[in-house]
C-alpha cells in the first residue's frame, strides 16, 4: 500500500467513524449518535420533550405568529407529515420497507371526495370514512404483499400500489381520470369552519388527535411486539408471536392513518387527484420520514415540515427543486442516518453533557456503565439461587414410565437427493435432560427444525404432551409450552435484556395484543425474575447486542424460559463459549431444569457436557437413530463407538 493509498484509507476510516460506522439499521445508527457524549439519555429525553412541545404549540398558533401566509403550506405539511408517520409505523417500528403506501393515502382522499360529492355525506362522516377505506385496502393488499420479505416486500408494495393507481387512473367515471375530483359543495368542511385559518386549525386538531392515537399504539405492548419483529423476525416467532398477523395489523393501521392524512389533504386542497396514489408520492413520504428521522416518533412529522417549507422556498426562487431535494436526501442518508431529530438529539446531548454530571450527582447513583459489560468478557455471571429463593430441591427423579412429553414417530425429511432425517422415532420423558449427539451432518438441527415447525416434514408425526403438533407453526408450539434456543444466538438485538424477556413473557400470554397502556406489573416482575434466574439482573437495561457472548446465551435461555416452557430445545447451547463459561452455562441449565421440573432436549458436541449432564442420549447418524438409551449404555455401545465416538477421538 503506497502513501496516498494509506492516506485515502485513513481518511475513509475517519469518515466511516464520523458517520458512526456502517450502520445496519437506522435505529442503531441513532443509538450510536445518542451514546456519543456519555449516557445522558434522560436529560436528552427531557430536551426532546421540550422541543416537541414547542413545535406543537408553535404550529397551533401559526396563523397568529407568522400570519395567514404560511397557513397554506403548513396545512399541506401537516398532512404529509401524518402520512410520513403512517409510513414510519411500518418502516421504522415494524421494519417493513413499503414503497406503495401512497395508494392508501390516495384512497383516503378519494373516499372523502366521493362520499361528499356522490353520496352527500356530511363532512365529518366522510372524513371518518377515509381511514376505513385506507385500512380495508391496506388489509386486503397485505395478503399479497406480505408474501414477500424485505426487498421483495418493498417491490410488491410498489407493484400493488401502482396497480391501485393504474386502476384509479383508468376508472374515470369514479375518479375523474387525469383531472381528478374537485368538491362540488361550497366547502368540504363542517359549518363551523369558515376561514382558511379555521381549515388549518381543523387539520391541525385532527392531525394532533391522530398523532396522539399513533403515539399510544407505538408505546403499547403491541408496539413492543412490532419492534421485536423488526429486530428479529425469527426470535419473534419463537417467543410466541404470530408474526404475519401482527404485520398485517400494522399494515392495516398504517393504511388507516394514511387514509386520514389523504382525506385531510383532499379537504385542504379541495381536490383529490390520482397523483396522490402514484409511487412518487410514496417516495415523497419516505423522504420526509428519512429527513426527519426514522428512529424517532415525531421525526417524520418534522421531516414533512422541512420538506414542504423547503419546497415552498426553493420553488419560489429557482427551478432546481429536484436537484436540491435530491442532494439533501443524499446528505441525510450518508451523513446523518438519524435524520433531523437524530441530529437535534445529538446536539442536545452534546450541549447537555456538562450538566449531566451535576444531574447525576443530585439525583441517583450511576447505573453500571455498558463499558463494564464489555470489559468483563471472560467474567461468568452465575445466578445466586439462594438469593432468589429458589433452593435446589433434591434431584427430581425423571419420570421414565409416564407418558412421554415429546414423541417422534417416523419423521423423515429429504432435501433433493439427500435424506437429512430418515425415519426417526424416539421419546423424551418429562423431567429428563435428554441429549442428541451425532457427527456433523447427522441431521440434528434439521430434526429440531422439523419438531419446531420451521420446515415441514415429508412423513411422520410429532406429539407434544399427547397432542399431534406436526406442521404446527413455531408460535403455536411456543404457546403450548415449548421453548427453543438456536445454534447462532438469536435475540432482539437493539432491545434491552429486560425487554427481551418481557416481550417473550408478554407475547406468549397474548398481552402484546394490547394497543394501549403498558405491560402489567405481573409481567414486568416475572421478566425481571427470569433475568435474575440467569444472573443478568444488573444488565437489565443493556441492549442485547452489547452483552458478552456468554451473557447473550444466558439471555437467550431466559427468553426461552420466559415463555413458561415445560420443554426446552437447546441447539448447541455452549457453542462459542470459553471452558469456564461452558461450565457455568451447563450448571445454570441443570439447576433450572432440576428445580423447575423442566424437560431439556439438547444438541451438543462437547462429550464432557453430554455425559456429565444428560439422563438419556439419542445418537443420530446419517439421519437415522443409531442408539437411544442412558449414558452408560451409549458409552458401551460398540456401534456408537465405531460410528461416532471413535471418529471424534481420532479427530481430536
Amino acid at each position: 500500500m503506497n502513501r496516498t493509498e494509506t492516506q485515502a484509507r485513513v481518511g475513509e476510516l475517519a469518515f466511516a467513524k464520523w458517520v458512526g460506522a456502517v450502520d445496519r439499521d437506522f435505529q442503531r445508527g441513532l443509538d450510536r449518535f445518542r451514546r456519543v457524549p456519555a449516557a445522558s439519555n434522560k436529560l436528552v429525553d427531557y430536551a426532546t420533550w421540550v422541543m416537541a412541545a414547542t413545535g406543537i404549540v408553535v404550529f397551533g398558533l401559526l396563523p397568529y405568529l407568522f400570519g395567514s401566509g404560511t397557513v397554506l403550506t403548513a396545512g399541506d405539511a401537516l398532512t404529509i407529515g401524518l402520512f410520513a408517520m403512517s409510513i414510519n409505523l411500518l418502516v421504522g417500528t415494524t421494519g417493513l420497507v413499503t414503497f406503495g403506501h401512497a395508494a392508501f393515502y390516495g384512497i383516503g382522499a378519494f373516499a372523502v371526495t366521493i362520499a361528499i360529492n356522490d353520496h352527500g355525506w356530511p363532512p365529518l362522516a366522510a372524513l371518518a370514512f377515509a381511514p376505513v377505506a385506507g385500512a380495508v385496502a391496506a388489509f386486503l393488499s397485505g395478503f399479497i404483499v406480505l408474501r414477500g420479505r424485505e426487498l421483495y416486500f418493498g417491490l410488491l408494495t410498489l407493484g400493488v400500489g401502482q396497480l391501485l393507481w393504474a386502476s384509479a387512473h383508468g376508472w374515470e367515471s369514479l375518479t375523474g381520470g387525469d383531472n381528478g375530483l374537485t368538491f362540488l359543495t361550497a366547502s368540504p368542511y363542517p359549518g363551523f369552519v369558515k376561514t382558511t385559518n379555521d381549515s388549518y386549525w381543523f387539520t391541525y386538531i385532527v392531525v394532533l388527535l391522530a398523532v396522539a392515537v399513533l403515539y399510544v399504539i407505538t408505546r403499547s405492548p403491541f408496539g413492543d411486539a412490532l419492534r421485536g419483529i423488526r429486530e428479529n423476525r425469527r426470535r419473534a416467532e419463537f417467543t410466541g408471536l404470530w408474526v404475519k398477523r401482527y404485520e398485517i395489523t400494522a399494515l392495516t393501521l398504517a393504511g388507516a392513518f394514511a387514509g386520514i392524512a389523504g382525506g385531510l389533504f383532499a379537504m385542504f386542497e379541495s381536490h383529490a387527484s390520482q397523483d396522490q396514489l402514484y409511487w412518487t408520492t410514496s417516495a415523497q413520504g419516505l423522504i420526509a420520514a428519512l429527513i426527519g428521522g426514522i428512529g424517532s416518533f415525531l421525526g417524520p412529522m418534522a421531516g414533512g415540515f422541512f420538506y414542504w417549507f423547503l419546497q415552498d422556498f426553493v420553488v419560489s426562487k429557482t427551478r432546481l427543486w429536484d436537484l436540491v431535494i435530491g442532494l439533501v436526501v443524499l446528505l441525510v442518508a450518508l451523513v446523518m442516518p438519524g435524520g433531523l431529530t437524530g441530529f437535534l438529539r445529538f446536539l442536545a446531548a452534546t450541549v447537555l453533557a456538562p450538566f449531566e454530571r451535576v444531574f447525576r450527582r443530585t439525583s441517583e447513583p450511576a447505573a453500571p456503565a455498558p463499558a463494564e459489560a464489555e470489559a468483563s468478557e471472560e467474567v461468568v455471571h452465575l445466578p445466586d439461587m439462594a438469593a432468589i429463593g429458589e433452593r435446589p430441591v433434591h434431584e427430581a427423579k425423571p419420570a421414565l414410565n409416564g407418558p412421554p412429553i415429546l414423541e417422534m414417530k417416523g419423521l423423515s425429511k429429504r432435501f433433493g437427493g439427500l435424506v437429512a432425517v430418515d425415519d426417526v422415532s424416539f421419546e423424551v420423558m418429562p423431567g429428563t435432560v435428554h441429549a442428541i449427539i451425532g457427527p456433523n451432518g447427522a441431521g440434528k438441527t434439521t430434526l429440531f427444525n422439523l419438531i419446531t415447525g420451521l420446515i415441514p416434514s415429508d412423513t411422520g408425526s410429532v406429539f407434544f404432551e399427547g397432542h399431534d403438533i406436526t406442521h404446527f407453526a413455531p408460535w403455536r408450539l411456543i404457546k403450548r409450552g415449548m421453548g427453543r434456543s438456536f445454534q447462532q444466538t438469536n435475540l432482539f438485538w437493539a432491545l434491552s435484556s429486560f425487554n427481551n424477556t418481557l416481550l417473550a413473557a408478554a407475547s406468549v400470554k397474548d398481552a402484546t395484543r394490547k394497543m394501549w397502556g403498558g405491560h402489567s406489573d405481573d409481567l414486568r416482575e416475572g421478566a425481571l425474575a427470569q433475568l435474575k434466574r440467569v444472573g443478568l439482573e444488573d444488565f437489565a437495561d443493556v441492549p442485547a447486542s452489547e452483552l458478552s457472548h456468554g451473557d447473550q446465551r444466558s439471555l437467550e435461555l431466559a427468553a426461552a424460559l420466559a415463555v413458561d416452557a415445560r420443554l426446552i430445545l437447546l441447539d448447541e447451547f455452549t457453542a462459542g463459549l470459553s471452558p469456564p463459561e461452558t461450565r457455568a452455562a451447563v450448571a445454570l441449565v441443570e439447576r433450572i431444569a432440576r428445580t423447575r421440573g423442566l424437560t431439556v432436549l439438547f444438541i451438543e458436541h462437547d462429550m464432557a457436557v453430554v455425559f456429565g449432564f444428560a439422563d438419556r442420549i439419542t445418537v443420530l447418524h446419517r439421519g437415522r437413530v443409531l442408539a437411544d438409551g442412558p449414558p452408560a449404555e451409549i458409552r458401551a455401545n460398540p456401534e456408537v463407538q465405531l460410528a461416532y465416538l471413535g471418529e471424534t477421538e481420532e479427530a481430536s
Binding site: 414503497f99 435530491g326 442532494l327
Partner: protein
C-alpha cells in the same frame, strides 16, 4: 377474411411486443446484473438510460444519422454513461452496499431526482425528436392485407441487439474469469476478497458494465422516435417489474420476463387500451403471489 384480419392484428401486436421486449431486456439486463452482484436495487438505472438517449440525440444532431455514425453515436453514448456510472459508484454507491434496503432505495431515488433536475436544466422540458439511420428505415410485410409495413426494421435490429447482449452477458458471466469472480462475489464477497480479488474494483466494474447497458438501451431503444424527460420513470417501472418477475439477479429470468411483459402489454393495448399498465402490474402481482421469489429467483436472494 375477418378472422384472418384479427389474426393478423394479434400477430402484429405480438411482433411489436417482441420489439419492445428486446428494448426492455436491454434495460433490465444491466439492472439485474447490478443487483445480482451488488445487491442494490438501482432506481437511477432509468435515469442513466435517459442520459444515454439524450446523449445519442445530441451527437447525431451534430454528426448526422448515417449508418456508421449511428454506431459511433451509440458506442460513445454508452461509454459516457458508463463513466457517469463510475463517478456515481466511487462517490456514493459504494457507501450504500452494506446499508439497509431503505437507505439504498432512497439514495438511488435521490439520483433520479438529481439527474432529472440536471437534465431539465440542460435540455429543457421540450421533447426532442430524432431521425433514423438509413439502414434501419422501413419495415417488412409479414401479414398481408395492408400497405403499411407491419414490422419495422428498427424492431428487428433491437431484437438482434438484445440477442447479442444476452449472449455476450452469458459468455462474460459463465465463460470468463471475470464472470467467475462476479458469481463468487454474489455468494460471498468477503470470502472472495480473502482469495486475492479486489472486490471493490470488481464491484465498480460490474456497476459500470450495468450502466453501459443502460446507456446502450437508451441510445438505441430509448431514442427511437423521440424523447422527453419522463422516460426515466416510465422505463424504470417496467424494468423493475421485469427483474422482479424474472427473479432478482437472474439474467435468464430477465429475458423471459421481458418477453412476457412486452407481449402482454402490447396485447393489453389491443384489449383494454386504457389499462395496459394495469395489466403489467397485474401480471407482476399474479406471478409473485404464486412465486414470491420470481420465476427464476432463489429464495435466499
Amino acid at each position: 377474411m375477418l378472422l384472418g384480419t384479427s389474426g393478423a392484428i394479434y400477430g402484429i401486436q405480438i411482433l411489436s411486443g417482441l420489439g419492445s421486449a428486446a428494448g426492455l431486456f436491454l434495460v433490465a439486463s444491466g439492472l439485474t446484473l447490478i443487483f445480482g452482484a451488488l445487491r442494490v436495487i438501482n432506481f437511477a438505472h432509468g435515469s442513466l438510460y435517459m442520459i444515454g438517449a439524450y446523449l445519442a440525440i445530441t451527437f447525431s444532431g451534430k454528426i448526422g444519422f448515417g449508418n456508421y455514425t449511428f454506431f459511433a453515436t451509440v458506442l460513445v453514448a454508452s461509454i459516457l454513461v458508463a463513466l457517469i456510472g463510475l463517478a456515481a459508484e466511487v462517490t456514493v454507491f459504494r457507501r450504500i452496499y452494506q446499508r439497509t434496503v431503505l437507505t439504498q432505495l432512497i439514495v438511488t431515488f435521490a439520483f433520479v431526482l438529481i439527474i432529472g433536475g440536471a437534465m431539465r436544466q440542460v435540455y429543457g422540458t421540450q421533447a426532442k425528436l430524432t431521425g433514423t439511420p438509413p439502414f434501419l428505415k422501413g419495415g417488412v410485410h409479414l401479414f398481408g392485407g395492408s400497405s403499411v409495413p407491419d414490422f419495422s426494421i428498427y424492431q428487428i435490429f433491437l431484437i438482434a441487439l438484445a440477442g447479442v447482449v444476452a449472449i455476450a452477458l452469458w459468455a462474460i458471466l459463465y465463460k470468463t474469469n471475470l464472470g467467475r469472480d462476479i458469481r463468487a462475489a454474489v455468494s460471498d464477497p468477503e470470502l472472495l476478497s480473502y482469495s486475492g480479488v479486489n472486490v471493490r474494483i470488481l464491484f465498480t466494474g460490474v456497476f459500470m458494465l450495468g450502466c453501459f447497458f443502460a446507456g446502450l438501451a437508451g441510445a438505441t431503444y430509448g431514442q427511437q422516435g423521440g424523447v422527453d424527460l419522463t422516460i426515466d420513470v416510465q422505463v424504470i417501472l417496467r424494468a423493475f417489474v421485469i427483474i422482479v418477475i424474472g427473479g432478482l439477479g437472474s439474467l435468464r429470468g430477465a429475458l423471459v420476463a421481458s418477453i412476457l411483459v412486452g407481449v402482454v402489454e402490447a396485447l393489453g393495448t389491443l384489449w383494454v387500451p386504457k389499462a395496459s399498465l394495469v395489466i403489467v402490474f397485474a401480471v407482476l402481482v399474479a406471478v409473485l403471489a404464486v412465486r414470491p421469489q420470481g420465476l427464476f429467483g432463489t429464495r435466499t436472494a
